[in-house]
Symmetry: C2
Subunit: 525 residues, 2 copies
Amino acid sequence: MNITGDMLIGASAVRGQQTRLHAINPATGETLAPVFGGGGEAEAERACALAEAAFDTFRNTPPETRARLLEAIADGIEALGDALIERAHAESGLPLARLQGERGRTAGQLRLFARVLRDGRWQSATLDSALPRRTPPRPDLRLQKIAVGPVAVFGASNFPLAFSVAGGDTASALAAGCPVVVKAHSAHLGTSELVGRVIQKAVADGGLPEGVFSLLVGSGTSIGTALVAHPAIQAVGFTGSRAGGLALVQVASSRPQPIPVYAEMSSINPVFLLPAALRSRGGQIARDLVDSLVLGAGQFCTNPGLVLAQQGDALDAFRAAAVAALQDKAAATMLTPGIHRAYEQGAGQLAEVEGVQRIGLGCAAAGPNQARPALFETTAARFLADHRTQAEVFGPSSLLVVCRDADEMLAVARHLEGQLTATVQADAADHAQAGNLLTVLERKAGRVLFNGYPTGVEVSFAMVHGGPFPATSDTRATSVGASAIERFLRPVCYQNVPAELLPPALQDANPLNLWRLKDGEPVKG
Amino acid sequence: MNITGDMLIGASAVRGQQTRLHAINPATGETLAPVFGGGGEAEAERACALAEAAFDTFRNTPPETRARLLEAIADGIEALGDALIERAHAESGLPLARLQGERGRTAGQLRLFARVLRDGRWQSATLDSALPRRTPPRPDLRLQKIAVGPVAVFGASNFPLAFSVAGGDTASALAAGCPVVVKAHSAHLGTSELVGRVIQKAVADGGLPEGVFSLLVGSGTSIGTALVAHPAIQAVGFTGSRAGGLALVQVASSRPQPIPVYAEMSSINPVFLLPAALRSRGGQIARDLVDSLVLGAGQFCTNPGLVLAQQGDALDAFRAAAVAALQDKAAATMLTPGIHRAYEQGAGQLAEVEGVQRIGLGCAAAGPNQARPALFETTAARFLADHRTQAEVFGPSSLLVVCRDADEMLAVARHLEGQLTATVQADAADHAQAGNLLTVLERKAGRVLFNGYPTGVEVSFAMVHGGPFPATSDTRATSVGASAIERFLRPVCYQNVPAELLPPALQDANPLNLWRLKDGEPVKG
């Protein structure tokens, strides 16, 4: 499949005339062909108008139709073969094996939502029987969830496949029955076009209205702002920086009709090392933690950017092991020159905070845009006193915070902002302290994990990739896992609607064979 | 029980020193004793600090404990007997029978949430088994929903019991495990205190932390703003005007940590009269619709403020029947002098819109603050051209919009803002047209009903009392029915958490006997 540099607006390829953009190979600094034409308000308007025109047809397709669409997209992405992986590698600097894994995850997400669609619990079908002899009579009441409307999706730089054009936001929105308009991330324009053309073809092959999917390209914020401000758009999915997410929240809440924004923004993912665990396996924890820290050049939303431990001999041994493990770690190419600059700047600023020492470094950079892993240390007292220590440094950098005792560790936990994850390393002897921490951490994070590392986000039913502000803009939601579909649904009650006009999920015969809540009890069939 | 005029802050009665307030009997204009002392920021701060201190204990109580709290509140409200009804009558002008019914509804809501708590589906317990031999291994993942944190509740003027101090917002927030701080509506201060003291006593009798409930009193917006801006508050429930709701949304979204606001604001609740129904039973529809219009002096969020019909003989007969039915309807006392003034002003402004005629009136006012029912008429073309015709006139006023044909009726439906309800009167011969309308109306409203009237909101599992903006500020939620609890919950994932630290809902033994989703399938036991 050729990469042309066009936008995909419905069934058309449209050459943007506003700006010229190209991707850059961060490992070499080279410009990658072709030149992309960036669009503006007119193209956002056209894509949104098509999405609106497609919406009623698309949301009312049988769930099986949308399941097949998602599977066709998954198949199509796999069929792109090495061309996709090589382009994504050139645009992102991410290793080939990592991108192959991410492709598997992307296809797996699409297929999970196909399963979710066939299962049908997402519809929340609920039936309350009429009680005609009650005073006053109770009407027949039936509830289902329906799609909210066209959705705007902004992909992430760090997952050019799994959180991008056909990533979790797009998969869950299409599953819900929402047409999707994606703003391509300028760091991986070619990857975006390849995947976008797969979706465009799957929509056409499925006989669906062309407006089900569009892919916009543009530089700066104007096309994204026009997209979120468009009256047809009813929700926004975003993965990226805190500043970027908050800017979209601002646009969305300033509309005549405000809309929800699901922005997954920033998190430093604290790891708490409890005393018994530190004594019994501090060396192993140090090595595993450093592996988690440098994975993918530290460019994960769940990167462990904060480590907390209580002072003492076991901590000294842990620190020595971590510093030793870190010094063998290679510098790795970051996604973009801009992200690399931000890492250098963030790590430099942290080093200058009073009371913060840099205690370990990985190997020096051996090429353009490579990040040198770094470990910093401070005291809990300094951490509590200076909010700069809590800022995310996106990349392979972490801050070890030394606490006097369990109470001070708990105080640090209480002081934290909202997080995607919080991790506890604990042996059985630590469980009393761990229980106290858990009560605090479940208020601070969307996922609390024990004796593991936060990188690695399973795509399943029980996953929550979300969390209190500023980890996300909406703590009620997850952007990974089956529940992600709920972001793009709203409930509607049908009162005394004639049988022949009832939607399939709510018909007496239960043609979709759903689990439904009938008069308060789950029943099937 | 005496009414003292104090605020209830935790276990204490606190005399506000900032302002002096009193309720007014709208039927007589008389001032009602006692004088209430209004508080300010200091009292909001104290109530919120107590709520925060109570939160971890309260959210971790067994669901059965909270179920009993809700039942004790319901019992206590009923035990207030006539004193409560008489005070509410004096403060609101609402008829005694209506208030007795509302008391039953209020107790019923509290008991529904006790059932919801015992049923436990609200916890969304979800278990994904570990797959240790997979590459990479899958961890043990378990999801439950937990309380978001302390909640601020602003009661409605028009339901001094069911949407006020112990109304649906409070019941669902307490059920979720959220401490509640209520700002009493200044129109029914005495009713608020009576109910507040019942909750205060139930909290104490249940051995729960005092911060589980507080009741603030204040004039103007300063105490409400302080409450919503307080960092402890994590969500807001509000029922009232569009201006009031949007002001709270603004405060909530300007916080360093923005929080969700569930504001139920304004709706004109369109009623579509389809041709066959209009021909076969237009006279009956006219009489029933006028009954619905004047019920409770038209002071329902679901009042039918807009009626749409196609021109022709059947419409002429309907119009005549409606005008005749209306002219016998008494004027009725409105809730407050302010609401009465706003009604007079709104109906007056509507009458002055070009192309709008007043075609019917009820009986003239026979006492202070009485609203005279009114019916207006315009054409679909005027309605589409002038947005003033779409403004809510809170009270017994409705606008008949005459459409040329089915297409124009559909155009009007598409033009509508978001609504709480949309109603279709349709016979079997109307079903093709009704199906087209339904596709539009399910996007416009939280509840679509056939061959009934929108007033009357059942408290059950399938109810949705919500809808797209501006009907509410959050279209994903309902403020009535079992699903209302979802507003005050957020999901947390527990990864590889040791068995002895798992919350009860997620323990292998399923001690709460919940329906849970295990590896994607619902199971119990």
